[in-house]
Point group: C2
Chain length 292, copies 2
């Protein structure tokens, strides 16, 4: 059973990587810019967001192929956010997924533009889905809310504003639900939208993804303390160095582990009325336990 | 006649300013971020792009109110591009429309995020139009193409890459058609899309707007040489200082004036089959002659 799920994830990954690889082939306006966009977009990564889109589409009875542009749109938004977050004016990170960050390789100007172009391309991708116009409009609405000032960008702004001062637990929860949770949730919802799912299904999918997103972020904070640079592909201990409030500083490592388990169960429970949520159950457990 | 056109433009401006002022009222996630977004979005400016959207919608027989979200989406994309272009890593400008640029006031991190949020908000705006879903999808396609790596961002990347070396006339034409022309053209096309115009009408509108955009950019290059900081609200002579290739270095001031006149006529001619293009004729002449 375990094996069939990893096989299925691998199949999803093949679809995603293939799609992303060809996304900008026809747009050779500026070679440097395109190279910078693809440098980050094709740098691997777990592709959790597009996998969520494809699998939630399947869960809601939709066609995975039709959902691919939605899936890759979510990944483009994620990639752009990493490029901009790594900039010297933001987190000033020089290593990402084991490679120099975008601005280290291409310079700040091109990195800013590559991020801008990927964000813009995400919305173009949504329109390429072979789906009814109404679903595409719903997808644009969903992704723009999750990515914008009331979502991911708002979370990053709160993060920058909170650096160097202690954040209350609730502030940290809000910050992370915006910065990371909103896009993970939107990625899952995009699959439901692609499948033409009901409002009720979408709400259940949202609850699942939000719990997953929170567990994921708590696990991330734990890894920054317990892992090595080789394992993570980026420097560890940066939260402490930057005096960032994290779930580890707020809950301790043991408290974090309890929360991850609790959230994972909450997420799994949210999908109990679906016919066959076993892949999603496995995925939640896999994400909660990664790198242990 | 002249007066009735300026009155009409003033009425459009009232609609636009009112709409923009209320665009982010319901999104108070991060006060700093919202302030930075509004600082640049509500800084005045000529609002040429949204006026083009509204007036082209009218030209094609559509409802101006329904086109307002499209119009303001185009202005948000324009505003975001100014914020990012002004950043230290890009053009490093400290003055814009007579006020300190966004990053001077709010810092680089917030300025980057404010730009990101405005770009994202533009696509959200498109979905708010009370129009058939098919037209909204067409609008997302149109705006994302014009704004992305095959359009505005591509042009800015070419601009950065070309700094300090002489550009051939054709390179300069391509660069400007992407950097400035694409969005001006899209703004006009969005009006046609909102009105449910024909493909033929859209092509004519595109020809008009592209000619206008080129004339506008040539005039801009001229003003950088002939105008004062007080008149422009930003430092003059910056092109020369940055060793930028411009239409003035390529054609000379007299050559530029001839081109502006030629392009303005071309633009006006493109709309000859419409019932009443007189406002567009006046607008083209007004833009060509501004600040003389």
């Amino acid at each position: 059973m375990e094996n069939s799920f990893t096989d299925r994830m691998t199949q999803d990954l093949v679809l995603i990587e293939e799609y992303l690889k060809n996304a900008f082939v026809a747009e050779p306006r500026c070679a440097d810019l395109q190279e910078a966009m693809e440098y980050s977009l094709l740098a691997g990564g777990k592709r959790i967001r597009p996998i969520l889109t494809l699998e939630t589409c399947r869960l809601c009875g939709g066609d995975v192929q039709a959902a691919l542009p939605f899936a890759c749109a979510a990944e483009m938004v994620h990639t752009y956010s990493l490029i901009h977050d790594d900039l010297p004016a933001m987190d000033d990170d020089e290593l990402r997924r084991g490679r120099p960050t975008n601005h280290v390789v291409y310079g700040e100007a091109t990195a800013i533009l590559a991020g801008d172009a990927l964000l813009t391309a995400a919305f173009d991708q949504l329109t390429r889905a072979d789906l009814p116009a109404g679903r595409i409009v719903e997808a644009v609405k969903c992704l723009s809310h999750a990515a914008g000032s009331a979502g991911m960008v708002g979370g990053q702004a709160l993060d920058m504003a909170g650096e160097g001062r202690g954040l209350e637990r609730e502030e940290l929860e809000l910050l992370q639900s915006l910065k990371t949770g909103a896009l993970i949730s939107a990625a899952a919802e995009l699959g439901c939208i692609a499948a033409g799912g009901t409002e009720e299904q979408r709400a259940q999918v949202r609850t699942y993804a939000q719990a997953l997103g929170r567990a994921f972020q708590i696990r991330d904070d734990m890894l920054d303390v317990t892992s090595s640079q080789e394992e993570l592909g980026k420097p560890v201990g940066s939260d402490r160095i930057n005096e960032k409030s994290t779930f580890v500083t707020s809950l301790g490592l043991d408290g974090c582990a309890v929360q991850v388990e609790l959230l994972t169960r909450q997420g799994i429970d949210a999908l109990s009325s679906f016919d066959n949520p076993s892949f999603h159950t496995w995925l939640a457990r896999w994400l909660a336990g990664r790198n242990r």
